[in-house]
C-alpha cells in the first residue's frame, strides 16, 4: 500500500498522468476503491485547500490537482457505482437569472468536483424553475446559487420561495454566494449556507451533506 502515497503526491502536483497510472495499478492489485478515495485522494485535496488558505498556492494549482483527482475518480466511480455507493454529494449549480457572471460559479463547480461531488452545472442566467426541476430530476442534495449583481440577488429568494410552494424545501440544501451576497442576506432569505469564497463553499457543502 505504500505505493498509494504516491497517488497523494501525484494529485498534489496536479500530475493527472501519474495519478491515473497509480490508480490503475492499485485497482489491478485489488485495492479497495473507497479506501483510495478517502485515504489518499481526499486528503490530497484537503492539503491543497490548506495551502490555498495560507496563500501558498493559487486556484490554477488547485484546479490542476482537482483535474488529476477527477481523472482518477473516473476509473473508480464505476466500481463504486456497481457497489451502489454514491458520490459525496450531488450539486445543481448556476448563476441567477439576469446575471452574466460565471467565473465564481465555475470555480466553485470545479472545486466541488475535485472534492468528490457530482456537479450539474446549469450555466448562467438560470431561472428558479430550472434550478428546481433539475435538482428534482437529478436527485441533488444541494442547490448552489451564484449572483454577481445586486439586481439579480432577489432571484435567490425566489428559488427558496418556489421550493416552499412546491413543498420541496426540505429535500435540498440551498447555498448562496457571489460578491454582493452576505451572510445576513443568506439568513434573511432562509438559505442553508453562505460562503464568501470557493474554498469555503466546498467545506460548507461537505458539512451540509453530512449533516
Amino acid at each position: 500500500m505504500s505505493d498509494c502515497s504516491k497517488l497523494t503526491e501525484a494529485i498534489l502536483n496536479g500530475d493527472a498522468k501519474a495519478s491515473v497510472a497509480i490508480t490503475k495499478e492499485a485497482l489491478d492489485k485489488k485495492t479497495d476503491p473507497q479506501e483510495l478515495v478517502s485515504k489518499y485522494m481526499i486528503p490530497a485535496m484537503d492539503e491543497m485547500g490548506k495551502r490555498f488558505e495560507t496563500g501558498d498556492c493559487f486556484v490554477p494549482e488547485l484546479l490542476i490537482s482537482a483535474r488529476a483527482m477527477k481523472a482518477s475518480l473516473e476509473l473508480i466511480r464505476p466500481l463504486l457505482a456497481a457497489r451502489g455507493a454514491e458520490p459525496v454529494g450531488r450539486v445543481v449549480i448556476g448563476t441567477m437569472k439576469g446575471d452574466l457572471h460565471d467565473i465564481g460559479k465555475n470555480l466553485v463547480a470545479s472545486m466541488l468536483e475535485g472534492a468528490g461531488f457530482e456537479v450539474i452545472d446549469l450555466g448562467v442566467d438560470v431561472g428558479p424553475g430550472l434550478f428546481i426541476a433539475e435538482a428534482q430530476a437529478k436527485k441533488a442534495d444541494l442547490i448552489a446559487l451564484s449572483a454577481l449583481l445586486t439586481t439579480t440577488m432577489p432571484h435567490m429568494r425566489a428559488v427558496i420561495e418556489e421550493l416552499k410552494k412546491a413543498g420541496a424545501r426540505d429535500r435540498f440544501k440551498v447555498i448562496v454566494g457571489g460578491a454582493p451576497v452576505t451572510q445576513r442576506y443568506a439568513d434573511e432569505i432562509g438559505a442553508d449556507g453562505y460562503s464568501d469564497n470557493a474554498n469555503g463553499a466546498v467545506g460548507l457543502a461537505r458539512r451540509l451533506v453530512t449533516a
Partner: protein
C-alpha cells in the same frame, strides 16, 4: 523617476515622460455643455447605480425616483464645490439594454437635470451613456446578430436623442474563452482571447458604435478590458490567481483596447480601463481612471498610481445607499471633487504636476506588480515595444513577453517586492509565453482543435 531607456517608437502619441501627465492629452475631447477633457484640467467622472431592486414595470416609478435623487444630489454638490466640469456616466443595467426604451428614459432624465444645472448655474457637464454588452448573456455568444445585439444597436442609435453626449461600452468578445483561462492562469488562451478574438470583435463593434455616433453627432468615447484584465485583477486581489499573472494580462489587454481608437473612438477611455495610460501614450486620447475613490466598487492595489496620468477621475460606481452624511453618490462626488482640486492646483506648474504624478507612482509601484506595469516610465517603454508589432495578435504576444521581462527585471533589481509564491510564477508564465507562435494562424488552428473551441463561434469573429 528616470527617463525610459531606449528611444520610443515614432508611433507613440506621447514620447517623453515630461509630457505624460494628468489632465493633459495630445488630442483633447470637447463634449456636452462647455466641457473639454484632456486640455489641462482633471475632471471628476461620477457613476452611480441602484441599490438592490428588481427592474420591472411596477418598480419603475421608484427607479426613476432613485435616479432623480442621485443626479440632483450630485449636481448640487458639484456646483457647491465649484468643480471645473462634471462628467456623469450612466451605465445601464442589463434590462435597460435589452429594453432600450427603459435605458433611454433614464438617460433623458439625467440629461435634463444636467441641462438645467448648466443653464441655471453654469455647471459645465456631459453625460456618457454606457450600454451593457449583453451579448455575453448566451454562451457561446452571438456577437453580430440576435436579440441582444439588436437591443444594443437600438440603444446606440437612440443615445443622442436620449441626451447622451458620449457613448461607451465594456465589450466582452473573447471573454467566453478568457474566463476559464484566467482561473487556470492559462496565458496562451488569454492571449488568444484578447489578441485574436477580442481584437476582431472590437473592430467590428466599434465600427458600428462610431457610425452610430457620427450619424447623431455625439462622441464615441471608449472601451475597457474590464471583463478580462479587471477580472484578473480582482481574482488576484482575492489571492485566487497570481498578481504577476494579472499584471501580465493587463499589458496583454492593451492591443485589444487600442482597436477601438484605431477605428475611431476619441476618448475618454472608460474609467475601469486600467490599461488607460498605455492608450493615452499610444493613441493620445484622454483617459478616465479610477483608484482609491473607487473603493466603494472594488478594493484595489493601484489606488494611487492609477491617478498618475488620468484626465478624468472616477469612482467607478456606487449604489444609492444612505451614509451618515448623505447618499453615497454625493459622497463619492465630494471625494472626486477634492482630488481633482488637488491635482489641478499642482498642475498650475507642469513641474509640480510631474512631482505629484511621481509621488502617486512611487507610493504604489514597488509593492505590487499590477502597479508596477502602470508606472508612467514603464508604460512608455512597454508601449513602444508593443507598437513595434503590426497586428493585434503580435502586439498582444509581445505585450505579454515584454511585461514578463519587465517584472522579472524589476524584481531582480530589487525595485519590485514579490513574495516567493508570486516570484516563482514569473518562470511558469515565461515558459508559457515562450511557446506562443509568432504566427496567429498557428495559434488559431491549435485553439480550434482544443476544448476551448466549444466555447466560441468562429463565424461571430469573421473567422
Amino acid at each position: 523617476m528616470t527617463s525610459p531607456a531606449g528611444a520610443p517608437a515614432a508611433t507613440l502619441a506621447i514620447t517623453s515622460l515630461d509630457d505624460f501627465i494628468f489632465g493633459r492629452a495630445p488630442h483633447p475631447v470637447r463634449c456636452g455643455r462647455g466641457m473639454e477633457i484632456g486640455a489641462g484640467t482633471v475632471i471628476p467622472e461620477i457613476n452611480f447605480t441602484l441599490p438592490p431592486i428588481a427592474i420591472a414595470e411596477d418598480t419603475w416609478p421608484e427607479i426613476r425616483r432613485q435616479y432623480a435623487e442621485m443626479i440632483e444630489g450630485v449636481c448640487r454638490r458639484a456646483m457647491e464645490l465649484e468643480v471645473p466640469a462634471l462628467l456623469v456616466e450612466f451605465e445601464t443595467l442589463p434590462p435597460m439594454t435589452e429594453n432600450p426604451a427603459w435605458g433611454a428614459e433614464i438617460c433623458k432624465l439625467l440629461s435634463n437635470t444636467l441641462g438645467t444645472y448648466h443653464a441655471k448655474h453654469g455647471l459645465r457637464n456631459a453625460l456618457r451613456l454606457t450600454p451593457n454588452d449583453t451579448r455575453e448573456f448566451q454562451r457561446p455568444p452571438l456577437l453580430r446578430r440576435g436579440k441582444y445585439w439588436e437591443g444594443m444597436l437600438e440603444l446606440f442609435a437612440r443615445a443622442a436623442e436620449a441626451g447622451a453626449d458620449l457613448l461607451a461600452i465594456e465589450s466582452t468578445g473573447g471573454k467566453e474563452v478568457s474566463d476559464e483561462a484566467l482561473t487556470s492562469a492559462d496565458l496562451r488562451a488569454v492571449v488568444f482571447a484578447l489578441g485574436v478574438l477580442g481584437a476582431r470583435d472590437m473592430a467590428f463593434l466599434w465600427k458600428q458604435i462610431v457610425a452610430a455616433c457620427r450619424a447623431s453627432g455625439i462622441g464615441p468615447s471608449g472601451d475597457t478590458a474590464c471583463g478580462f484584465a479587471n477580472t484578473a485583477m480582482v481574482l488576484a486581489g482575492q489571492k485566487f490567481i497570481p498578481k504577476v499573472f494579472a499584471a501580465v494580462v493587463r499589458v496583454a489587454a492593451v492591443p485589444r483596447s487600442l482597436v477601438a481608437y484605431e477605428v475611431g473612438a476619441v476618448g475618454p477611455s472608460k474609467d475601469c480601463a486600467y490599461e488607460g495610460p498605455y492608450i493615452k501614450a499610444i493613441a493620445g486620447v484622454p483617459i478616465s481612471m479610477e483608484g482609491r475613490t473607487a473603493a466603494c466598487a472594488h478594493l484595489s492595489s493601484v489606488g494611487n498610481i492609477s491617478q498618475a496620468v488620468c484626465d478624468c477621475w472616477s469612482n467607478e460606481s456606487v449604489q444609492n445607499v444612505r451614509l451618515l452624511s448623505t447618499n453615497a453618490p454625493t459622497v463619492s462626488l465630494e471625494q472626486l471633487a477634492y482630488d481633482c482640486r488637488l491635482m489641478n492646483t499642482a498642475a498650475r506648474s507642469a513641474e509640480d504636476a510631474r512631482r505629484l504624478r511621481d509621488w502617486l507612482t512611487e507610493s504604489d509601484a514597488p509593492r505590487d506588480p499590477h502597479a508596477w506595469v502602470l508606472r508612467p516610465d514603464v508604460v512608455l517603454r512597454l508601449a513602444a515595444e508593443i507598437m513595434e508589432e503590426e497586428t493585434p495578435y503580435r502586439r498582444t504576444r509581445r505585450a505579454a513577453l515584454a511585461a514578463l521581462e519587465e517584472l522579472a527585471r524589476a524584481h531582480g533589481a530589487g525595485e519590485l517586492r514579490l513574495p516567493p509564491q508570486e516570484a516563482r510564477w514569473l518562470d511558469t508564465l515565461r515558459r508559457q509565453a515562450d511557446t506562443l507562435p509568432e504566427d496567429e494562424s498557428a495559434l488559431l488552428a491549435e485553439m480550434l482543435d482544443s476544448p476551448a473551441a466549444s466555447k466560441f463561434l468562429p463565424a461571430e469573429y469573421g473567422l
